[in-house]
């Protein structure tokens, strides 16, 4: 009989569990319910949410934090959230991994671009010169500039001073 070589990196796993959305990952019992309805698994050989959950469970997920890793093939359809009998919410664990990748600055450039645009303009989609012309033609008022000062303020990370 061969000896099992799987070792769990508990420190790494705890690091992931502390990211909002990944706190239930330990309850995954690898049933595979998340795979059956997963459109990315259906259309892309090699994308398997159960395998992503396994790597998260054993704290061996550094490969997902590399640029263009497999986690970015997730369609965010929430079918796995719907199906998981353990309330692990696999899509939320994948999003937590994306958060770690973003901290690592390895997420796709659109992530940073769109997030920056929302913080600066309040809109996720760029306002172009034709936007307000089309609105006017449809009898709609022009889009106003959004004051994003409050948004920017609440998104600033805690400092030692404001943590208390």
């Amino acid at each position: 009989m061969k000896e099992s070589k799987i070792e769990v990196n508990f420190d790494k796993k705890r690091e992931l569990e502390q990211v909002l959305g990944a706190d239930q990952v330990s309850y995954c019992y690898q049933c595979g319910a998340c795979v059956g309805d997963c459109p990315s698994a259906r259309f892309y050989e090699g994308f398997n949410p159960r395998e992503i959950m396994l790597k998260a469970l054993i704290g061996d997920f550094d490969e997902f934090l590399e640029p263009d890793s497999i986690i970015w093939k997730c369609s965010n359809c929430y079918n796995c959230y719907e199906r998981c009998p353990q309330d692990v919410r696999p899509v939320e664990v994948i999003i937590a991994l994306k958060n770690l990748a973003s901290q690592n600055k390895t997420s796709p450039k659109e992530i940073l671009e769109i997030t920056k645009r929302i913080k600066e303009t309040g809109y996720s989609v760029p306002l172009v010169s034709t936007t307000n012309r089309m609105r006017e033609e449809m009898g709609l008022p022009p889009l106003k500039k959004i004051d994003t000062s409050e948004l920017q303020e609440i998104l600033k990370p805690e400092t030692k001073a404001n943590k208390k």
Binding site: D37, N99, I118
Partner: protein, 296 residues
């Protein structure tokens, strides 16, 4: 009833004709649209959430506070906004530690999330608060003999834990609202499939979009009934791009026109096609307009 209008980004910026359709069709049903100052992007549940989940829920909580301060429940018109605001409300209402952390951030700008507003997609308002009879009463030109292949998309329904719009495995809300304006609905084989728009992989996106479109084309429907603006972009411009890519070599030249529900409602209420922006679609709605004796 008065409700705070949460327009989001995609519809007012990219598809203002959908917003125009809503502003024209909803007041006759007895809903007073209140434009509230101070909303930002919901923020979007794909990019912003992938960058910073905690920042995402905090920014969403700020939007909820804006409606709380106005003393109004929110109605949304985009599936993505509905998902973000519903999930944020659910998280903040269930997790008191998270709520404390978020409220600490909000306190910096003098705000506090209290959990007093409801977030409802406009289709649930129509179904639950207005009712089919009132919709029928506003119909001047029923969409007789028009067959609509419904595509619900993902975020209107899932996760049902907090979306609470309809049974995600057997939804009927769109069918009910489309039949109320005189059209027929049908369920296509891939009705459950995601349009693929949120995958960071062009060919994966296209494969999903194409699979849905091929399934819809088997139905001999007059149009594709949409409620999600992201799905709409996949099936309108996305369909044109796919056709160009294949250069029609397999004879799939037949196009199916996606249309947002409130544009159909507008036609039924007697609005002209251009008043709901149908002339602005990449794929024209010829088959529906012919059956209604209308010109685009």
């Amino acid at each position: 009833m008065r409700m705070a209008f949460f327009p989001g980004c995609m519809i007012p910026v990219k598809y203002p004709y959908m917003e125009a359709a809503i502003r024209k069709t909803v007041p006759p049903l007895g809903i007073e649209i209140v434009d509230v100052e101070g909303f930002t992007c919901c923020p979007d549940p794909i990019h912003f959430k992938a960058a910073d989940n905690f920042g995402w829920v905090t920014a969403a909580a700020r939007n909820l506070c804006v409606a709380e301060e106005a003393g109004l429940d929110i109605f949304t018109i985009c599936s993505g906004c509905t998902e973000t605001l519903s999930e944020a409300s659910y998280m903040l209402n269930e997790d008191s530690d998270l709520r404390k952390r978020v409220n600490k951030r909000l306190a910096r700008v003098g705000k506090q999330y209290k959990g007093t507003v409801k977030v409802k997609h406009l289709v649930t308002v129509l179904r639950d608060d207005i009712g089919v009879e009132k919709i029928k009463a506003t119909v001047k030109k029923p969409l007789k003999n028009v067959m609509v292949a419904v595509h619900y998309g993902c975020h209107l329904l899932k996760p049902s834990t907090f979306m609470r719009v309809d049974d995600p495995d057997d939804p009927h809300v769109m069918d009910l609202l489309i039949r109320a304006i005189g059209a027929e609905t049908c369920k296509h084989k891939e009705w459950y499939l995601c349009c693929g728009r949120a995958c960071f992989d062009q060919s994966l996106r296209e494969d999903m979009t194409e699979c849905v479109l091929n399934s819809v084309k088997e139905m001999n429907a007059d149009c594709m009934g949409m409620i999600c603006p992201t799905c709409f972009s996949s099936f309108d411009l996305g369909q044109i791009m796919l056709t160009r890519k294949h250069k029609d070599e397999d004879g799939r030249g037949k196009m199916i026109s996606p249309v947002y529900y409130f544009q159909l409602l507008g036609l039924a209420q007697g609005l002209k096609p251009e008043e709901v922006g149908l002339n602005r679609h990449k794929i024209k709605l010829d088959s529906v307009l012919q059956k209604m004796n209308l010109e685009n």
